[in-house]
Structure formats: C-alpha cells, structure tokens
Amino acid sequence: MRPFVYEQPADIASAVAIASRFTTNDDQPTRAKAQFIAGGTNLADYMKLGVAEPNRLLDLNRLKDAGLRQIQVSDDGIRFGALVRMGEAADHAEVKRRYPVIADSLRLAASGQIRNMASLAGNVLQRTRCEYFRETSWNCNKRVPGSGCAALDGFNRQHAVLGASDACIATYHGDFAQALIALDAVVHAEGSRSARKIPFAKLHRQPGNTPHVETALAQDEIITAIEVPGLPWARRSLYLKIRDRESYAFSLASAAVVLDLAGDSVREARIALGGVATVPWRARAAEDALQGKKLDEASAEAAAEAAFADAAPRKHNAFKIELGKRTLARALLETRDMKV
C-alpha cells in the first residue's frame, strides 16, 4: 500500500480546503492524491489491492457540521446525513414505514459488520467489483485510462448488459442507489467552488470512452446529505435482490419498484435495476409500458421486456437478461400484492 498522511479535518470547509490544496482540477476523485475516507470498507480494500493510491487520507468521521449524522423525517421527505451508517438507516422505523424500498436495499446489502461501518454517501460511491479492475495485473480502462479492457473477452459472468461500452462493461454493484434513483433523490455536495444539489440520476457516469470518470463530483467535493422527496405512495415499494447465495453477496440482478395503484391499474411506476448495468439504472421504458395498464403477469412481463430491450450480452453474462426480466416481473407483482 502506498504510504499516506492521515488528517482529521474538523469541519467540511477545512476538509474541502485540504483536498483542494493537494489535488488539481483535472484529478478524478478516485485518482486524486488526497481522498476522503468515512467507513473505509471500499477504499481501504482498494488501497490494499493497489487499485486506489492516495498519499493523503482525510478522515471525515470527526467533522462537526450539523446534520451529518442525522436522519430527518417529515412529510416533505427524508434527509439522510452523509455520515449516517447503512445499518442505522436500514433499522430506522420511519424509513421502513415510509420507504420500504430503501430499508430493503440497505438490509440486503453487505454484512452486519460492513453496514455498521459504511456511510450512506460512501455506499453510493462504492466502486465496481469487476475482477479485472480489482486485480492490477490486468488491463483496465477504469483503473488505468487507455490501457484496454480485459473483461470484454474475459470471464465476464458478473458484468453489465446495460449501459456498457467497448471501453468498459463493469457493473455498478450497489443496492441503495437503485432505491434512490427510483425515488428521484437529490445529493447535496460541497466543494471549493460552491455547494450544489445533484439529481441522483446525474451522480454516476456511464463509462462511454472515459470509464475512469465515475461520478459528477469534483476531486474536492464532499457529499453532505442525500435527500429523498416525500412520496406517500412509496409505502408500496420493495427491493428484490437475486444472487449466487442467499446472503452477503452482490446481486446478479435486482429491482427497486415503487407503485402508485388505482385498484389494479398503474397510475405511476418507478423502476430501477441493479446488478445488470454499469450505473444505477432507471428503467423508464418499463415505467412507461405500465402507465395506465392493469398490472398482471402479462403486463409485468411486457414491462420487463421493455426494460431489457437494449441489453447487450457478452460471452458469459447473457443469462442476466432473462434473470433480470424475471426479477423485475416478480418484483412488480410482489409490490402490487403488498398490504399497505
């Protein structure tokens, strides 16, 4: 591991100031010399593997700014402080009641220990588990821009069928993010230029020709809060996660579903997919396919077809298209049948 200087800034302004001083504007946050650490579950792992090589770590856990560790609930929505831990949010009574899809997505992620450590902001920024990204002896455009992608013709069973490019097919493996993108969440960030709000759907970048550009954040920007708008009908929502083993594994396919029903028919649907795409994936074509329709097996399957219409398989991951469709269809019907 590269040696690093460890600092504990006292507030957001000083953390940003230190980050600006030791990074330059064209650094990607993931490649910058100075990086922020909260739970460390992702970054410490990647530092051990030589994938992340900061020489300065700014520990955000001692920040004193108000609200960073709070979950604030009102009818206008929920505001999650960036340093709230995954486990705390998963167990929060109002989160479970108002937004089951959020509580599910957190509860089904990682393990009890990791959920106690990992911050919510760090969780949404977690980096891919692509084996060729994790192991530095392989070519990887995300890790070393321009070096090539060993996954394209490699063992790509875990890889993405949606949102991929010829430069990168790495999957975004998070779960919480699918709930957030379905609920039109907003991310609050502070950097040296200004404080700003980023729609969750704009936070992550599809790989295109620049897979090393993973998010919209600048190298000295810190997520301070995640805000989810109030949505009374979000009580009818869930997150379904399918994986190789029952627990403590990343998804092969997952679906976040939020439904507004009028009797049997769909007034509005919000759908996001995980485990199958390069970024948190909002399935708008599936949402449109359901609008005004009676939700039954046939319409759920039609929506699932629409969600994967543009899917592009590689040698080992074609199974994810069928698995993803069945996962979404099942999630839609289970959400319909929820007692709320």
């Binding site: 040696p3 690093f4 460890y6 460390g40 393990s111 990791i114 106690n116």
Partner: protein, 166 residues
C-alpha cells in the same frame, strides 16, 4: 505553523482496548487488525481474508461489530474497542456467548470463532436475533469453513435468551 507531516512518518496513536489504554507508534497504513495482533500482542482476533469478506477479524468498536481489517488503526483513536480477550470477567467467568459456543460445540477448527462470538454479541445487541432465520441472515458476514452453522445458530439463541435485558 506546524510541520507538514510526511507519509511513512509513524504517528503515536492511543487505543483503548478491553478497558486498557495503549499508546503505540504506528505507520498510518496499519489496520486495526494488525495493530491488535502485531503491535499489542492480542492475537485472539484472527486474520482470514484481510479484505472484509470473511468476518474472522470482527471486533466491537463503541459497542458495534466492525471489521478490524478494513479500518485503519489511526481512525480508532479514543474509541472503546472490545476483542475476544476482553469478554470474560476477571475471575475467568466466560461471557454467556462464549459459554454458549462451548455448550453447543459451535466450532471445529476454531479459527473463525472469535469473530463469530463478537459478531453474535453485536447481532443480539442490535435486536437482529429474533428468529433462526434472522440469525442466519444477520450473521452472514461470518464465514465458517467447517460449516458449524447449525450449532452457531443454536449458541446464539441460547446466549440471546440468557443476556436479554442485560
């Protein structure tokens, strides 16, 4: 103006482990796990994968179960750390969870056991040991390659009932 610190320059870190304080000089890269085992000599906490995938290194920090392999020691200054060595009382009486693991023969080789026990205590304290299914789900971060899982679940149930309200 203070002197600019350099990478590789050891920092003195004060760690509170099992109610005892240790001031040790550490390279910032040292994980909490390596600090416990190699610098302080508390080798009860085990290193399995060293990447947060097996749970063998689980300890309690401020009462919560965490993975000591994914935490830099310097980040834990001033926190209350509990390891397997800190569970029994001074007269040698075992913690109910330790006793339960023996009663139910909840291990074979024993390598994952310290992590299992600390994780189980955290699991019960979090209120996630309500049923056998609950225990299986919330203990899934601790891998046992001898597959003593049924006996581990039985041990957690026993200790849960003994420590309720404690």
């Amino acid at each position: 103006m203070s002197v600019e610190p350099k990478p590789r320059q050891p920092v003195v870190t004060s760690l509170k482990i099992n109610k005892r304080s240790y001031d040790i000089s550490l390279d910032t890269r040292t994980s909490l796990l390596d600090a416990l085992r190699d610098h302080i000599g508390l080798t009860g906490t085990k290193k399995g994968c060293d990447h947060g995938q097996c749970g063998a290194c689980t300890v309690l920090v401020d009462g919560k179960r965490v993975l000591s392999c994914l935490s830099f020691a310097v980040m834990n200054e001033g926190k209350d750390i509990t390891t397997i060595e800190g569970l029994a009382s001074r007269d040698g009486k075992l913690h109910p969870m330790q006793r339960a693991f023996i009663d139910h023969d909840a291990f074979q080789c024993g390598y994952c056991t310290p992590g299992q026990i600390l994780s189980a205590i955290g699991c019960v304290n979090e209120g996630h040991a309500e049923s056998e299914d609950d225990i299986r789900e919330y203990m899934s971060g601790n891998i046992c390659r001898c597959a003593a899982y049924p006996n581990i679940v039985a041990a957690v149930l026993q200790a849960r009932d003994e420590t309720k309200g404690a």
